[in-house]
Protein backbone atom coordinates (compact mmCIF):
# COMPACT_ATOMS: atom_id res chain seq x y z
CA UNK A 1 0.00 0.00 0.00
CA UNK A 2 2.67 2.46 1.04
CA UNK A 3 4.98 1.53 -1.86
CA UNK A 4 1.98 1.97 -4.18
CA UNK A 5 1.31 5.47 -2.85
CA UNK A 6 5.00 6.39 -3.24
CA UNK A 7 5.02 4.99 -6.78
CA UNK A 8 1.98 7.16 -7.71
CA UNK A 9 3.72 10.27 -6.36
CA UNK A 10 7.02 9.36 -8.09
CA UNK A 11 5.20 8.80 -11.42
CA UNK A 12 3.38 12.11 -11.04
CA UNK A 13 6.68 13.92 -10.40
CA UNK A 14 8.41 12.19 -13.35
CA UNK A 15 5.55 13.19 -15.62
CA UNK A 16 5.28 16.78 -14.36
CA UNK A 17 6.15 19.79 -16.50
CA UNK A 18 9.03 20.63 -14.13
CA UNK A 19 10.58 17.19 -14.70
CA UNK A 20 10.11 17.56 -18.49
CA UNK A 21 11.86 20.96 -18.44
CA UNK A 22 14.66 19.61 -16.25
CA UNK A 23 15.27 16.63 -18.54
CA UNK A 24 15.30 19.00 -21.52
CA UNK A 25 17.97 21.17 -19.88
CA UNK A 26 20.10 18.31 -18.55
CA UNK A 27 19.82 15.74 -21.35
CA UNK A 28 18.51 17.88 -24.24
CA UNK A 29 15.43 15.65 -24.58
CA UNK A 30 12.74 17.15 -26.78
CA UNK A 31 9.71 15.65 -25.13
CA UNK A 32 7.06 18.17 -24.02
CA UNK A 33 4.39 17.58 -21.38
CA UNK A 34 1.17 19.03 -22.83
CA UNK A 35 0.39 20.72 -26.12
CA UNK A 36 -2.42 21.29 -28.56
CA UNK A 37 -2.59 20.88 -32.31
CA UNK A 38 -5.09 21.98 -34.94
CA UNK A 39 -5.57 19.78 -38.02
CA UNK A 40 -7.82 20.57 -40.98
CA UNK A 41 -9.68 17.81 -42.77
CA UNK A 42 -7.59 16.01 -45.42
CA UNK A 43 -4.44 17.78 -44.23
CA UNK A 44 -1.39 16.53 -42.32
CA UNK A 45 0.14 18.49 -39.45
CA UNK A 46 3.27 17.97 -37.37
CA UNK A 47 3.38 21.16 -35.30
CA UNK A 48 1.99 21.49 -31.81
CA UNK A 49 1.75 24.49 -29.46
CA UNK A 50 2.98 23.88 -25.94
CA UNK A 51 0.31 24.68 -23.34
CA UNK A 52 2.91 25.83 -20.83
CA UNK A 53 5.47 27.84 -22.83
CA UNK A 54 3.33 28.68 -25.87
CA UNK A 55 6.22 27.52 -28.12
CA UNK A 56 5.63 25.80 -31.45
CA UNK A 57 7.21 22.35 -31.38
CA UNK A 58 7.67 19.89 -34.24
CA UNK A 59 6.73 16.25 -33.82
CA UNK A 60 8.95 13.55 -35.43
CA UNK A 61 5.89 12.42 -37.42
CA UNK A 62 2.81 14.07 -38.87
CA UNK A 63 -0.86 13.43 -38.26
CA UNK A 64 -3.44 13.53 -41.01
CA UNK A 65 -7.12 14.20 -40.30
CA UNK A 66 -9.07 12.05 -42.73
CA UNK A 67 -12.44 13.11 -41.36
CA UNK A 68 -14.02 14.91 -38.43
CA UNK A 69 -17.65 14.31 -37.57
CA UNK A 70 -20.15 14.71 -34.77
CA UNK A 71 -22.69 12.05 -33.90
CA UNK A 72 -26.05 13.05 -32.43
CA UNK A 73 -28.57 11.25 -30.31
CA UNK A 74 -31.90 10.32 -31.83
CA UNK A 75 -34.47 11.78 -31.69
CA UNK A 76 -33.55 15.34 -32.60
CA UNK A 77 -35.95 18.04 -31.41
CA UNK A 78 -37.88 21.01 -32.70
CA UNK A 79 -38.24 23.67 -30.01
CA UNK A 80 -41.36 25.80 -30.38
CA UNK A 81 -42.06 28.90 -28.29
CA UNK A 82 -45.26 30.95 -28.32
CA UNK A 83 -46.71 33.84 -26.32
CA UNK A 84 -47.78 33.17 -22.73
CA UNK A 85 -44.64 31.11 -21.96
CA UNK A 86 -45.92 28.23 -24.07
CA UNK A 87 -43.17 25.73 -25.00
CA UNK A 88 -43.06 22.50 -26.97
CA UNK A 89 -40.09 20.20 -27.46
CA UNK A 90 -41.20 17.96 -30.30
CA UNK A 91 -39.17 14.95 -31.56
CA UNK A 92 -38.34 15.49 -35.22
CA UNK A 93 -40.19 13.06 -37.45
CA UNK A 94 -40.33 13.96 -41.12
CA UNK A 95 -43.94 14.27 -42.36
CA UNK A 96 -45.53 14.01 -38.92
CA UNK A 97 -48.07 16.77 -38.21
CA UNK A 98 -47.95 18.10 -34.65
CA UNK A 99 -51.04 19.86 -33.32
CA UNK A 100 -50.34 22.95 -31.23
CA UNK A 101 -52.92 25.05 -29.33
CA UNK A 102 -56.17 25.96 -31.13
CA UNK A 103 -55.01 29.57 -31.80
CA UNK A 104 -51.76 28.38 -33.41
CA UNK A 105 -52.75 25.46 -35.65
CA UNK A 106 -50.24 22.71 -36.49
CA UNK A 107 -46.68 22.23 -37.65
CA UNK A 108 -45.08 19.57 -39.88
CA UNK A 109 -41.35 18.92 -40.42
CA UNK A 110 -40.76 18.58 -44.17
CA UNK A 111 -36.99 17.94 -44.35
CA UNK A 112 -33.68 18.56 -42.58
CA UNK A 113 -30.46 20.29 -43.74
CA UNK A 114 -26.86 19.91 -42.58
CA UNK A 115 -25.71 23.05 -44.37
CA UNK A 116 -28.72 25.25 -45.10
CA UNK A 117 -28.23 27.90 -47.78
CA UNK A 118 -30.58 30.04 -49.90
CA UNK A 119 -29.95 29.93 -53.63
CA UNK A 120 -31.35 32.79 -55.69
CA UNK A 121 -32.68 31.64 -59.02
CA UNK A 122 -34.26 34.59 -60.87
CA UNK A 123 -37.22 35.70 -58.71
CA UNK A 124 -37.16 32.50 -56.73
CA UNK A 125 -35.34 31.77 -53.53
CA UNK A 126 -34.63 28.09 -53.10
CA UNK A 127 -33.47 26.40 -49.88
CA UNK A 128 -30.63 23.97 -50.58
CA UNK A 129 -28.35 21.66 -48.59
CA UNK A 130 -24.94 22.93 -49.79
CA UNK A 131 -22.10 20.45 -50.21
CA UNK A 132 -19.32 22.99 -49.77
CA UNK A 133 -17.60 24.06 -46.55
CA UNK A 134 -19.75 25.28 -43.71
CA UNK A 135 -22.34 24.01 -41.33
CA UNK A 136 -25.83 25.35 -40.81
CA UNK A 137 -28.16 22.59 -39.57
CA UNK A 138 -31.81 23.48 -40.12
CA UNK A 139 -35.34 22.09 -40.50
CA UNK A 140 -37.88 23.04 -43.14
CA UNK A 141 -41.35 23.31 -41.61
CA UNK A 142 -44.87 23.73 -42.82
CA UNK A 143 -47.11 25.79 -40.55
CA UNK A 144 -50.85 25.48 -40.87
CA UNK A 145 -52.87 28.20 -39.10
CA UNK A 146 -56.39 27.55 -37.65
CA UNK A 147 -57.92 28.74 -40.97
CA UNK A 148 -55.97 26.15 -42.97
CA UNK A 149 -53.47 28.61 -44.54
CA UNK A 150 -49.98 27.14 -44.88
CA UNK A 151 -46.61 28.88 -44.73
CA UNK A 152 -43.03 27.59 -44.89
CA UNK A 153 -40.64 28.38 -42.04
CA UNK A 154 -37.14 27.28 -41.05
CA UNK A 155 -35.73 26.35 -37.65
CA UNK A 156 -31.98 26.66 -37.12
CA UNK A 157 -29.60 24.96 -34.72
CA UNK A 158 -27.24 27.92 -34.56
CA UNK A 159 -30.00 30.55 -34.27
CA UNK A 160 -32.30 29.17 -31.60
CA UNK A 161 -35.69 30.85 -31.01
CA UNK A 162 -35.52 32.25 -34.54
CA UNK A 163 -38.52 34.48 -35.37
CA UNK A 164 -39.41 37.45 -37.53
CA UNK A 165 -41.42 40.32 -35.96
CA UNK A 166 -44.69 39.15 -37.58
CA UNK A 167 -44.30 35.49 -36.48
CA UNK A 168 -46.42 33.92 -33.75
CA UNK A 169 -43.87 31.16 -33.16
CA UNK A 170 -40.16 31.23 -32.34
CA UNK A 171 -38.46 28.08 -33.61
CA UNK A 172 -35.21 26.24 -32.87
CA UNK A 173 -33.56 22.99 -33.96
CA UNK A 174 -32.14 21.14 -30.99
CA UNK A 175 -29.78 18.14 -31.09
CA UNK A 176 -27.86 16.41 -28.30
CA UNK A 177 -24.25 15.56 -29.11
CA UNK A 178 -23.40 11.88 -28.71
CA UNK A 179 -19.75 11.94 -29.74
CA UNK A 180 -16.94 13.79 -31.53
CA UNK A 181 -14.88 11.60 -33.85
CA UNK A 182 -11.58 12.40 -35.58
CA UNK A 183 -10.24 9.82 -38.03
CA UNK A 184 -6.45 10.10 -37.79
CA UNK A 185 -3.44 8.67 -39.63
CA UNK A 186 0.13 8.83 -38.31
CA UNK A 187 2.45 9.41 -41.24
CA UNK A 188 6.26 9.33 -41.36
CA UNK A 189 8.37 9.43 -44.54
CA UNK A 190 5.25 8.94 -46.62
CA UNK A 191 4.26 5.73 -44.80
CA UNK A 192 1.17 5.27 -42.67
CA UNK A 193 2.41 3.97 -39.30
CA UNK A 194 -0.88 3.95 -37.40
CA UNK A 195 -4.52 4.72 -37.96
CA UNK A 196 -7.29 5.29 -35.44
CA UNK A 197 -10.61 7.05 -35.04
CA UNK A 198 -10.27 8.88 -31.77
CA UNK A 199 -13.20 10.07 -29.70
CA UNK A 200 -13.77 11.14 -26.12
CA UNK A 201 -12.59 8.29 -23.86
CA UNK A 202 -10.67 6.68 -26.76
CA UNK A 203 -7.36 8.53 -27.32
CA UNK A 204 -4.56 7.48 -29.65
CA UNK A 205 -1.25 6.40 -28.08
CA UNK A 206 1.78 6.82 -30.33
CA UNK A 207 5.40 7.91 -30.05
CA UNK A 208 5.34 8.56 -26.30
CA UNK A 209 2.23 10.73 -26.43
CA UNK A 210 -1.51 10.35 -26.04
CA UNK A 211 -3.65 12.27 -28.55
CA UNK A 212 -7.04 13.33 -27.20
CA UNK A 213 -10.11 14.73 -28.89
CA UNK A 214 -10.10 18.17 -27.28
CA UNK A 215 -12.09 20.67 -29.32
CA UNK A 216 -13.30 21.38 -32.85
CA UNK A 217 -14.37 24.01 -35.33
CA UNK A 218 -17.85 24.75 -34.01
CA UNK A 219 -18.61 27.15 -36.89
CA UNK A 220 -17.85 25.02 -39.93
CA UNK A 221 -16.70 21.63 -38.59
CA UNK A 222 -13.60 21.80 -40.80
CA UNK A 223 -10.88 21.16 -38.25
CA UNK A 224 -10.29 19.28 -35.04
CA UNK A 225 -8.22 20.30 -32.02
CA UNK A 226 -6.19 17.56 -30.36
CA UNK A 227 -4.57 17.66 -26.94
CA UNK A 228 -1.18 15.95 -26.96
CA UNK A 229 0.02 14.67 -23.58
CA UNK A 230 3.32 12.99 -22.73
CA UNK A 231 3.09 9.48 -21.28
CA UNK A 232 6.20 9.90 -19.09
CA UNK A 233 5.70 8.52 -15.60
CA UNK A 234 2.34 6.99 -16.47
CA UNK A 235 3.61 3.42 -16.00
CA UNK A 236 4.76 4.27 -12.47
CA UNK A 237 1.39 5.86 -11.66
CA UNK A 238 -0.58 2.86 -12.94
CA UNK A 239 1.77 0.40 -11.19
CA UNK A 240 1.24 2.43 -8.00
CA UNK A 241 -2.53 2.25 -8.44
CA UNK A 242 -2.35 -1.53 -8.91
CA UNK A 243 -0.15 -1.95 -5.82
CA UNK A 244 -2.38 0.34 -3.77
CA UNK A 245 -5.56 -1.54 -4.74
CA UNK A 246 -4.03 -5.00 -4.26
CA UNK A 247 -2.55 -3.92 -0.92
CA UNK A 248 -5.75 -2.36 0.38
CA UNK A 249 -7.96 -5.30 -0.64
CA UNK A 250 -5.41 -7.80 0.68
CA UNK A 251 -5.08 -5.99 4.00
CA UNK A 252 -8.73 -5.23 4.68
CA UNK A 253 -10.57 -8.05 2.90
CA UNK A 254 -8.44 -11.08 1.99
CA UNK A 255 -6.17 -11.22 5.04
CA UNK A 256 -9.19 -11.36 7.30
CA UNK A 257 -10.86 -14.08 5.21
CA UNK A 258 -7.67 -16.22 5.14
CA UNK A 259 -7.21 -15.69 8.87
CA UNK A 260 -10.75 -16.95 9.47
CA UNK A 261 -10.10 -20.00 7.26
CA UNK A 262 -6.89 -20.82 9.15
CA UNK A 263 -8.70 -20.51 12.46
CA UNK A 264 -11.49 -22.75 11.14
CA UNK A 265 -9.01 -25.40 9.93
Amino acid sequence: MHVGAISVLAGAMWGSSVAHNLREKLFATRKFQTAQMVIYEQQAEKHVVSEISGKVIELPFSIKLKDFRIKYYKPEYLHIQASGDRNWLVPVEIGNEVLLDSDLGSITVLRSFENFRIKIDGDKRIAIDANGPGSNPALELQLKDPNGNTTTRYAFERFTAHARPEDKLALGYYRIIRDYISELQIIKDGKILAEKSIEVNHPLHFGGYHFYQHSYDSENKQYTVLMVVSDSGLGLVYAGYAMLCIGVFQHFWLKDIFKKKRVAS
Binding site: I176, Y212, C245, F249
Partner: protein
Protein backbone atom coordinates in the same frame (compact mmCIF):
# COMPACT_ATOMS: atom_id res chain seq x y z
CA UNK B 1 -39.22 21.13 -3.08
CA UNK B 2 -41.58 19.56 -5.61
CA UNK B 3 -43.75 16.46 -5.49
CA UNK B 4 -43.27 14.08 -8.42
CA UNK B 5 -46.72 12.94 -9.64
CA UNK B 6 -45.22 10.24 -11.83
CA UNK B 7 -44.82 6.46 -11.61
CA UNK B 8 -41.17 7.10 -10.77
CA UNK B 9 -42.08 9.51 -7.98
CA UNK B 10 -44.81 7.29 -6.54
CA UNK B 11 -42.44 4.31 -6.37
CA UNK B 12 -39.91 6.44 -4.46
CA UNK B 13 -42.58 7.72 -2.05
CA UNK B 14 -43.75 4.14 -1.44
CA UNK B 15 -40.15 3.15 -0.65
CA UNK B 16 -39.73 6.12 1.73
CA UNK B 17 -43.02 5.24 3.43
CA UNK B 18 -41.93 1.60 3.76
CA UNK B 19 -38.59 2.50 5.36
CA UNK B 20 -40.11 5.17 7.66
CA UNK B 21 -42.98 2.93 8.83
CA UNK B 22 -40.47 0.12 9.38
CA UNK B 23 -38.41 2.49 11.58
CA UNK B 24 -41.42 3.62 13.63
CA UNK B 25 -42.91 0.14 14.00
CA UNK B 26 -39.51 -1.28 15.04
CA UNK B 27 -39.06 1.51 17.59
CA UNK B 28 -42.46 0.60 19.05
CA UNK B 29 -41.39 -3.00 19.41
CA UNK B 30 -42.90 -4.64 16.32
CA UNK B 31 -39.69 -6.22 15.07
CA UNK B 32 -41.21 -8.71 12.63
CA UNK B 33 -43.62 -6.15 11.15
CA UNK B 34 -40.71 -3.70 10.92
CA UNK B 35 -38.62 -6.21 8.95
CA UNK B 36 -41.50 -6.83 6.55
CA UNK B 37 -42.08 -3.13 6.00
CA UNK B 38 -38.35 -2.61 5.39
CA UNK B 39 -38.40 -5.40 2.80
CA UNK B 40 -41.42 -3.75 1.19
CA UNK B 41 -39.57 -0.42 1.12
CA UNK B 42 -36.57 -2.09 -0.52
CA UNK B 43 -38.75 -3.78 -3.17
CA UNK B 44 -40.33 -0.40 -4.01
CA UNK B 45 -36.87 1.24 -4.20
CA UNK B 46 -35.65 -1.59 -6.44
CA UNK B 47 -38.66 -1.13 -8.73
CA UNK B 48 -37.98 2.63 -8.80
CA UNK B 49 -34.33 2.01 -9.78
CA UNK B 50 -35.25 -0.61 -12.41
CA UNK B 51 -37.93 1.71 -13.82
CA UNK B 52 -35.38 4.52 -14.08
CA UNK B 53 -32.83 2.22 -15.74
CA UNK B 54 -35.41 1.13 -18.33
CA UNK B 55 -36.57 4.72 -18.83
CA UNK B 56 -33.14 6.34 -19.43
CA UNK B 57 -31.55 3.32 -21.19
CA UNK B 58 -28.27 3.40 -19.27
CA UNK B 59 -27.09 2.50 -15.78
CA UNK B 60 -28.87 5.08 -13.60
CA UNK B 61 -25.90 6.66 -11.83
CA UNK B 62 -25.57 9.85 -13.89
CA UNK B 63 -26.81 12.57 -11.55
CA UNK B 64 -27.70 13.15 -7.92
CA UNK B 65 -31.28 11.91 -8.38
CA UNK B 66 -30.09 8.57 -9.74
CA UNK B 67 -27.24 8.20 -7.24
CA UNK B 68 -29.53 8.83 -4.25
CA UNK B 69 -32.03 6.37 -5.67
CA UNK B 70 -29.23 3.79 -5.93
CA UNK B 71 -28.14 4.56 -2.35
CA UNK B 72 -31.69 4.01 -1.08
CA UNK B 73 -31.79 0.66 -2.87
CA UNK B 74 -28.31 -0.54 -1.88
CA UNK B 75 -28.79 0.11 1.83
CA UNK B 76 -31.02 -2.96 2.37
CA UNK B 77 -28.84 -5.70 0.79
CA UNK B 78 -25.71 -4.15 2.32
CA UNK B 79 -27.50 -4.14 5.68
CA UNK B 80 -28.10 -7.89 5.28
CA UNK B 81 -24.42 -8.34 4.36
CA UNK B 82 -23.37 -6.47 7.51
CA UNK B 83 -25.78 -8.45 9.65
CA UNK B 84 -25.01 -11.95 8.41
CA UNK B 85 -21.39 -11.70 7.18
CA UNK B 86 -19.80 -9.01 9.34
CA UNK B 87 -22.07 -9.79 12.28
CA UNK B 88 -22.67 -6.08 12.85
CA UNK B 89 -26.20 -5.09 13.86
CA UNK B 90 -27.92 -1.90 12.71
CA UNK B 91 -31.30 -2.62 11.17
CA UNK B 92 -32.80 0.58 12.62
CA UNK B 93 -29.98 2.63 11.12
CA UNK B 94 -30.60 0.98 7.73
CA UNK B 95 -34.27 1.94 7.81
CA UNK B 96 -33.43 5.54 8.68
CA UNK B 97 -30.60 5.84 6.12
CA UNK B 98 -32.89 4.39 3.42
CA UNK B 99 -35.59 6.98 4.10
CA UNK B 100 -33.12 9.87 4.47
CA UNK B 101 -31.29 9.23 1.17
CA UNK B 102 -34.49 8.66 -0.80
CA UNK B 103 -36.05 11.87 0.52
CA UNK B 104 -33.99 14.28 -1.67
CA UNK B 105 -34.50 11.98 -4.68
CA UNK B 106 -38.25 12.15 -4.09
CA UNK B 107 -38.63 15.84 -3.35
CA UNK B 108 -35.58 17.88 -4.37
CA UNK B 109 -33.54 16.51 -7.27
CA UNK B 110 -34.80 16.77 -10.81
CA UNK B 111 -35.82 13.44 -12.38
CA UNK B 112 -35.57 14.80 -15.93
CA UNK B 113 -33.98 12.00 -17.97
CA UNK B 114 -30.69 13.00 -19.59
CA UNK B 115 -28.62 11.50 -22.39
CA UNK B 116 -25.06 10.58 -21.50
CA UNK B 117 -22.61 13.26 -22.69
CA UNK B 118 -19.54 11.95 -24.57
CA UNK B 119 -17.30 12.02 -21.47
CA UNK B 120 -19.63 9.67 -19.58
CA UNK B 121 -19.78 7.05 -22.34
CA UNK B 122 -17.12 4.81 -20.90
CA UNK B 123 -17.02 1.31 -19.42
CA UNK B 124 -15.63 2.97 -16.28
CA UNK B 125 -18.79 5.03 -15.67
CA UNK B 126 -20.76 2.20 -13.99
CA UNK B 127 -17.95 0.71 -11.87
CA UNK B 128 -16.57 4.12 -10.77
CA UNK B 129 -19.89 5.42 -9.44
CA UNK B 130 -21.19 2.02 -8.24
CA UNK B 131 -18.20 1.33 -5.96
CA UNK B 132 -18.60 4.81 -4.49
CA UNK B 133 -22.31 4.14 -3.83
CA UNK B 134 -21.42 0.91 -2.01
CA UNK B 135 -18.57 2.54 -0.09
CA UNK B 136 -20.76 5.48 0.98
CA UNK B 137 -23.44 3.15 2.34
CA UNK B 138 -20.85 1.33 4.46
CA UNK B 139 -19.38 4.62 5.68
CA UNK B 140 -22.86 6.02 6.50
CA UNK B 141 -23.68 2.91 8.51
CA UNK B 142 -20.31 3.13 10.26
CA UNK B 143 -21.01 6.79 11.13
CA UNK B 144 -24.38 5.77 12.66
CA UNK B 145 -22.60 3.22 14.82
CA UNK B 146 -19.98 5.80 15.77
CA UNK B 147 -22.73 8.23 16.83
CA UNK B 148 -24.38 5.44 18.83
CA UNK B 149 -21.07 4.76 20.55
CA UNK B 150 -20.51 8.41 21.47
CA UNK B 151 -24.12 8.74 22.64
CA UNK B 152 -23.91 5.65 24.83
CA UNK B 153 -23.47 6.58 28.48
CA UNK B 154 -21.60 3.48 29.58
CA UNK B 155 -17.87 3.98 29.01
CA UNK B 156 -15.89 1.12 27.45
CA UNK B 157 -14.92 -1.39 30.13
CA UNK B 158 -11.14 -1.59 30.64
CA UNK B 159 -9.15 -1.63 27.44
CA UNK B 160 -11.80 -3.44 25.39
CA UNK B 161 -13.85 -1.82 22.66
CA UNK B 162 -17.57 -1.83 22.97
CA UNK B 163 -19.40 -3.40 20.07
CA UNK B 164 -20.63 -0.22 18.32
CA UNK B 165 -17.08 1.11 17.90
CA UNK B 166 -15.87 -2.27 16.68
CA UNK B 167 -18.75 -2.65 14.27
CA UNK B 168 -18.07 0.87 12.91
CA UNK B 169 -14.46 -0.20 12.35
CA UNK B 170 -15.51 -3.42 10.61
CA UNK B 171 -17.74 -1.53 8.21
CA UNK B 172 -15.06 1.06 7.47
CA UNK B 173 -12.68 -1.86 6.77
CA UNK B 174 -15.12 -3.09 4.11
CA UNK B 175 -15.90 0.38 2.73
CA UNK B 176 -12.34 1.72 2.55
CA UNK B 177 -11.06 -0.60 -0.23
CA UNK B 178 -14.15 0.36 -2.25
CA UNK B 179 -13.39 4.02 -1.62
CA UNK B 180 -9.82 3.41 -2.84
CA UNK B 181 -11.05 1.57 -5.92
CA UNK B 182 -13.49 4.39 -6.70
CA UNK B 183 -10.69 6.96 -6.50
CA UNK B 184 -8.34 4.89 -8.67
CA UNK B 185 -11.02 4.07 -11.27
CA UNK B 186 -11.97 7.76 -11.40
CA UNK B 187 -8.34 8.70 -11.94
CA UNK B 188 -7.89 6.12 -14.74
CA UNK B 189 -11.10 7.40 -16.35
CA UNK B 190 -9.90 11.00 -16.04
CA UNK B 191 -6.76 9.99 -17.95
CA UNK B 192 -8.85 8.49 -20.76
CA UNK B 193 -11.45 11.25 -20.98
CA UNK B 194 -9.66 14.47 -20.02
CA UNK B 195 -6.02 13.55 -20.65
CA UNK B 196 -4.94 13.70 -17.03
CA UNK B 197 -5.32 11.31 -14.13
CA UNK B 198 -5.56 14.21 -11.71
CA UNK B 199 -7.26 17.48 -12.61
CA UNK B 200 -7.43 19.29 -9.23
CA UNK B 201 -11.19 19.28 -9.63
CA UNK B 202 -13.21 20.06 -6.43
CA UNK B 203 -14.89 16.63 -6.49
CA UNK B 204 -11.51 14.93 -6.85
CA UNK B 205 -10.03 16.98 -4.02
CA UNK B 206 -12.90 16.27 -1.63
CA UNK B 207 -12.82 12.55 -2.55
CA UNK B 208 -9.11 12.53 -1.78
CA UNK B 209 -9.80 14.42 1.46
CA UNK B 210 -12.31 11.77 2.58
CA UNK B 211 -9.91 8.96 1.57
CA UNK B 212 -7.05 10.60 3.51
CA UNK B 213 -9.32 11.09 6.51
CA UNK B 214 -10.04 7.35 6.65
CA UNK B 215 -6.30 6.69 6.22
CA UNK B 216 -5.85 8.92 9.28
CA UNK B 217 -8.61 6.98 11.08
CA UNK B 218 -6.82 3.65 10.56
CA UNK B 219 -3.45 5.02 11.67
CA UNK B 220 -4.93 6.74 14.73
CA UNK B 221 -6.95 3.67 15.70
CA UNK B 222 -3.93 1.43 15.28
CA UNK B 223 -1.79 3.66 17.52
CA UNK B 224 -4.15 5.16 20.10
CA UNK B 225 -7.52 3.54 19.39
CA UNK B 226 -7.68 1.35 22.47
CA UNK B 227 -7.28 4.32 24.81
CA UNK B 228 -9.42 6.81 22.89
CA UNK B 229 -12.26 4.78 21.39
CA UNK B 230 -14.54 7.81 21.28
CA UNK B 231 -12.01 9.75 19.23
CA UNK B 232 -12.00 6.88 16.69
CA UNK B 233 -15.72 7.52 16.37
CA UNK B 234 -15.17 11.24 15.82
CA UNK B 235 -12.83 10.32 12.90
CA UNK B 236 -15.58 8.09 11.44
CA UNK B 237 -18.23 10.81 11.76
CA UNK B 238 -15.92 13.46 10.27
CA UNK B 239 -15.24 11.09 7.35
CA UNK B 240 -18.96 10.87 6.68
CA UNK B 241 -19.29 14.67 6.92
CA UNK B 242 -16.60 15.03 4.22
CA UNK B 243 -18.40 12.43 2.10
CA UNK B 244 -21.59 14.51 2.35
CA UNK B 245 -19.61 17.56 1.18
CA UNK B 246 -18.12 15.50 -1.69
CA UNK B 247 -21.53 14.22 -2.76
CA UNK B 248 -23.73 17.26 -2.29
CA UNK B 249 -21.97 20.52 -1.64
CA UNK B 250 -19.48 20.14 -4.49
CA UNK B 251 -22.31 19.61 -7.00
CA UNK B 252 -24.91 21.97 -5.59
CA UNK B 253 -22.74 24.93 -4.64
CA UNK B 254 -21.52 27.39 -7.23
CA UNK B 255 -18.39 27.70 -5.12
CA UNK B 256 -17.04 24.43 -6.54
CA UNK B 257 -17.70 24.62 -10.28
CA UNK B 258 -15.58 21.94 -11.89
CA UNK B 259 -15.37 18.94 -14.17
CA UNK B 260 -18.02 17.00 -12.20
CA UNK B 261 -20.64 19.80 -12.38
CA UNK B 262 -22.79 17.82 -14.83
CA UNK B 263 -23.61 15.35 -12.05
CA UNK B 264 -26.32 17.65 -10.56
Amino acid sequence: MAIKYTTQGLLIYAAIAGYLLAFIVSLLGGKKAGRLLQLLGFIMALFALAYRWYHVGHIPLQNLFEVFLALGTAVYPLGLFCRYVLRTPGRLADMLIGAVVLFPAGFFFSARPLQLPPALQSWLFGPHVAVYVLAYVFMAKAACHAVAHIASRTPPPGDEFISTEQSAHKMICVGFPLLTLGLVLGSCWGKLAWGDYWGWDPKELWSLASWLLYVGYFHFRSMFGRKFARINCIWAITGMAIIVITMLWVNLSRLFAGLHSYAV
